[in-house]
């Protein structure tokens, strides 16, 4: 069972379990065809805390898992017995949250006597792209920019199943976290991304020049592809406090638009620098923050100027979900990779180079 691969002439039917943050995602794919993308989110429970509370997320996963699996099976119109494999996120993510999915996936695989694939969440975000039935196949190599509330990473993907390199990542807050924190600063609710967007709609992105983290010449030497958003958050706080201290109203729309512009600028600038440096004319965007319209627009516009082709998976597959986990496992199976053994654990800092966790044999 475990350790054995799936040998088949047809496309594998895979159920993927994703519990790395606050979304309980169950996805079912057949080869590269999406059959169900079921998501139960505990976001509402975190709203009053202004951010994801790990224990609250883990409790919610435990209660959401079984109903989500049932719903996904019903939507895909398949039975558990029909599955060729089970897939699960091993990391990176919140340890306690990951463990719920790992425990469930192992027991499900054992009870069904099916192979289990433990995969990398970040690479899963890239794998979401293969489920886009309308798009031509992913070409290699490609640079991938993954931006969410949990991560901000720049990757060089030479092969989805065997060769992913980390070029850089955030040194402090994830971009999505920065949106949440600045939203709170401006008195806007959680989650901050859509709120900042709404406020920014009527604002001037050039009104205030906020700092672009790790973008000075010296930073670009040492941290060319890394990100930092905590300085930007502090700059926004300082700016608004100075206004308040002077007894002047805070122009929320301008602050929101200028902050968003700073985030978008640094994300796109570094992603395109990676494309240029590695002579890769392809950029894949993933992660929940890609839902941000301004980020997509600026990326498309500036990439076009540099003759870089931008790929964006359907937005429903950009946020954390189980379908991308199933899709990655499906790719691994079709590449002939053996299943993971049952010894792997939840690895909150799993490196992106570890696309599949094989388990200690």
């Amino acid at each position: 069972m475990a350790g054995r691969g799936v040998h088949m002439n047809r496309e594998p039917l895979v159920l993927g379990i994703e519990t790395s943050c606050d979304e309980t995602g169950i996805g079912i794919v057949r080869g590269r065809t999406l059959l169900s993308n079921t998501i139960a989110s505990s976001m509402d429970e975190h709203a009053r805390y202004g951010g994801v509370v790990p224990e609250v997320a883990a409790r919610a996963h435990l209660e959401a898992l079984e109903p989500a699996i049932r719903a996904a099976l019903a939507e895909a119109d398949v039975a558990l017995a029909d599955l060729d494999a089970v897939a699960v996120t091993s990391g990176p993510g919140l340890a306690g949250a990951l463990m719920v999915g790992v425990g469930a996936a192992k027991a499900l695989a054992v009870s069904l006597e099916k192979p289990l694939y433990a995969v990398n969440h970040l690479v899963g975000h890239i794998a979401a792209d293969v489920l886009d039935g309308d798009a031509p196949p992913l070409e290699y190599p490609t640079v991938a920019l993954l931006v969410s509330g949990g991560h901000t990473s720049l990757l060089l993907v030479r092969d989805l199943t065997s060769d992913v390199e980390l070029l850089g990542e955030t040194m402090d807050d994830a971009a999505g976290e920065a949106f949440d924190k600045v939203a709170r600063l401006l008195g806007l609710p959680y989650p901050g991304g859509p709120e900042i967007d709404r406020a920014a709609a009527s604002g001037d992105p050039l009104a205030i020049t906020f700092p672009r983290g790790l973008s000075r010449a010296s930073d670009m030497a040492a941290h060319r592809y890394d990100f930092s958003f905590s300085g930007l958050k502090t700059a926004v706080a300082r700016w608004t406090e100075q206004r308040q201290a002077a007894g002047e109203p805070v122009p929320v729309a301008d602050v929101a638009a200028s902050f968003r512009e700073a985030v978008v600028d640094v994300l796109v600038t570094k992603a395109l620098a990676a494309c240029r440096d590695h002579d890769v004319p392809r950029l894949l965007l993933g992660g929940g923050v890609i839902a941000n319209r301004r980020l997509r627009d600026v990326a498309l516009e500036r990439a076009a100027a540099e003759r870089v082709t931008v790929r964006i998976p359907p937005l429903s597959l950009c946020t954390d979900n189980g379908a991308m986990i199933a899709a990655l496992a499906s790719e691994l199976i079709m590449a002939g990779r053996p299943a993971s053994t049952l010894e792997f654990g939840a690895d909150s800092t799993l490196p992106v180079t570890e696309i599949q966790v094989a388990g200690s044999a």
Partner: protein
Amino acid sequence: MVGGGAGGGTGGGAAARTDADGPTVTLEGVILGIDTSLGTAVAVVEPDGVVRAQVESADPRGHAEVIGTLIQRALAEASVTVSDISYVAAGMGPGPFTGLRVGIAAARAFALGRGVPVVPVVSHDAVALELLLHDALTGGYEDAADESFAVVTDARRREFASTLYRGLDDDGLPVRLAEPALTPRDDLDRMLQAAGVIRRDAERIPAAMLALAASRAVVAGRTIAPADVLYLRSPDVTMPGAPKRVNL
């Protein structure tokens, strides 16, 4: 396939309730017990209590790492296949949350995979059942059935989790005098003394006894534990105050 269990098993005996005032419940197959409230413990038990396999890891962490192999090992040692499992007993705690959830998630997922019911069991009940059966068999200390005792486990954060028991009822299940509760470490002995109960510390949860308690509950047609996790603590959260001010 299950490792060394080639050939499968017969699925064990059957237990039946034959009292006049209810439908007869016959329990076929074997019961899988899973508990991760302390270490990780998995057992396969026949409905009448014959222990086919009991495996465990004492590691108070690492539940997610070992849960899959322990289930597989228990099935192999019991010489049963997954289709022989008719019920899955889940230890619902009390216990440290992160580990506790792994076993409950596994129990629910295994049951879902086989299409069989989950039977929630208070983890301390397994310890109490073992103590009471052991005392009954060995004579134990005098009048074991009349002695009130507390099953005590470490709840971390300078607290103990304890549940008070006294004897077995007519269905062969431990009688709970008080539901699981948390007590500061320094207060526990005073509290138990005041209540006149003996302290019985537990370092492990016997999964076989968990499965046996589940079996007896099913045969008796009773629900003996809530379907919800026995967290006993609210999640650790600090409500955000006003945003921290930076220097002007």
